[in-house]
Amino acid sequence: MATLRRDIHIERAPEDVWTLVGDPARLHEWFPVQDCRVEGNKRWVTLPTGIVFEEDIVVVDGRTRRFQYSIVNNLLIRDHFGTVDVMDDGHGHTVLSYSTQCTPNVFALVTAGASGQALRNAKRILEAAHDGTNKATN
């Protein structure tokens, strides 16, 4: 099982960042997927290629600002665990972290690449909103 992590610094308060990335139903606003649907602790994510991932939502912890999920019932991805952490940088802003544990290992590389783009998207969206310009798009 491979583990990869991407991080980004966002000049927004952790609680503001959490409102976006801590909401499982808002994934498509910042992650490069086409759509997502949430029912209870299940999420179905549709990729632009039409592939649909079924996910178990494992942790949504607003206190520690941690979101964790697992892709399940997937013919290719045998084991998966994803973690999004929203952390205070000590100066009132945020370090946003996205880590993926995955088998097969190679899929972790692809997911890490997408999560890197997702983090940049989140930074753009949140910092633009903070500036009041709100020009960012996903």
Partner: protein
Amino acid sequence: MGRRILFITTDQQRFDSLGCNGGGIARTPNIDALAAAGINYVRAHPQNVVCMPSRSTMVTGQHVSTHGVWMNGVPLPEDAPSIAATLRTAGYRTALLGKAHFEPLLDPFLRFAENRMGREGTFTEWSELPDGTRFPHRGFEHMEFAGHGAAGNLHYVGWLRENHPEAMAGFVPNLDGDLEVTTEPGGDTMAPQVRITNGIPRGWYHTDWVADRTISWLDSLGQDDKWFCWMSFPDPHHPWDPPKEELHRVNWRDLDLPAGYIEDAAERERILSSKPAHWMGWYTGSFVSNFEAPLKWVPATLTADNVREVNAMVHVKNELIDEAVGRVLAAIRARGWEDDVDIVFTTDHGEMQGDFGFLFKGPYHVDGLMRLPLIWKPAASAGIAPATVTAPVGHVSLAATFASIAGLGRPAYTEAPALPVSDGDADERGFERVLTEWDSVLFGKEVGVRTIHRDGWTCSAMLPGTVHDGTEGELYDHANDPLQRVNRWDDPAVRSLRDDLLADMWDHLPSPVLPRRDCDAPV
């Protein structure tokens, strides 16, 4: 009217695969004729020995440290310099038909334009510059992509799916169920990635498809248009699965083993032990450091008959490429453009193809991977005499060469001048050395190599990494050791030469772009 440019590339083709370079098996009369009538560079190196970094050098005219595509899976930024964009600004029509691979191919999130275009059946994506000008992707107004088979998002796959879905299963899948490069054995010898049952007719195979699409695009142009056309064949890259109806061309049982293959296992292992540790590590399967080397294949298991059969497949693929080139050249003649077209032929990197007991590629800076075919047949109207150039040159000169053909000055973003037209020209313009870089990080395994070729020597320094502490290296004297079997890195008799080569290399390598960009996919 100005000179047009046909840029022909293949993928993973050795220098010695062509008749004009001493190859005695595959018949390559069309490419040989280009060499005879033009300039044949017999010491041309890529700036990296895998696809994405090497192709990024071709389009940007920059070393790897500058364009920043330091390994496969690192996308070339969309706003990176592009010779196609420069030519388009100068009034050229521009196209790329075949394999681009400036962006990762494994892309289920469709993050990259090449995959989006292929998936959607579109032919470029447009960006808007700050002044409102719309500009096509990397300067190419028309792009149609093909890869190494029937998987993925590229145009060729969509074309097959729509027109000949029954043919798709004939190819070896590039990746296995773990998304690793496949080791699927096949053929008569159970060689990795060999398949002798691909029932696809030759006319539907990607080599002919690339030529068809090239001819179609050329047919769409006005008679007076200037154009830059990059025709990029995915072959002879593995999987080695050409149409079975063409296999009669070369019988593997008739082939001699290539000179680079060392039959005696003990001697092979003695030689590998004299090279830096990653060589033997890969050979035994204990250190597979790069995605391009199939994780589940152990080179030590390669047999002599495997080598013969893989080579036979490659020769077949190379003949198909040559014939496809011939068709495109005939189409150009039919349009009456022949005297005003410059043709440049090369490949992105080589293939071990049995050398030292290996197939595929990786951080191994020897001739199998680094010495490439490079031919420039200038337009007849340019009046440039045929020549053989022995001076070291690199792909990094291609962008400036294309600009020069177009009558433009050397673009400021390029890091090397246009190719020399003779050895005398090379001497006058300082073509003394060529540099090649390697970096890879794969799940904690890190390898870095920096190489210079100068004065008939190849010198490689290992960077500190997983199995190197930064003191190791390779030094080969091509005049006396053309197969690079004697590593003289630690030979006191050539210590001063080694140190001079290293100093020269570090003096001429550009500083790397930092921070290093993320790798977004394995390939």
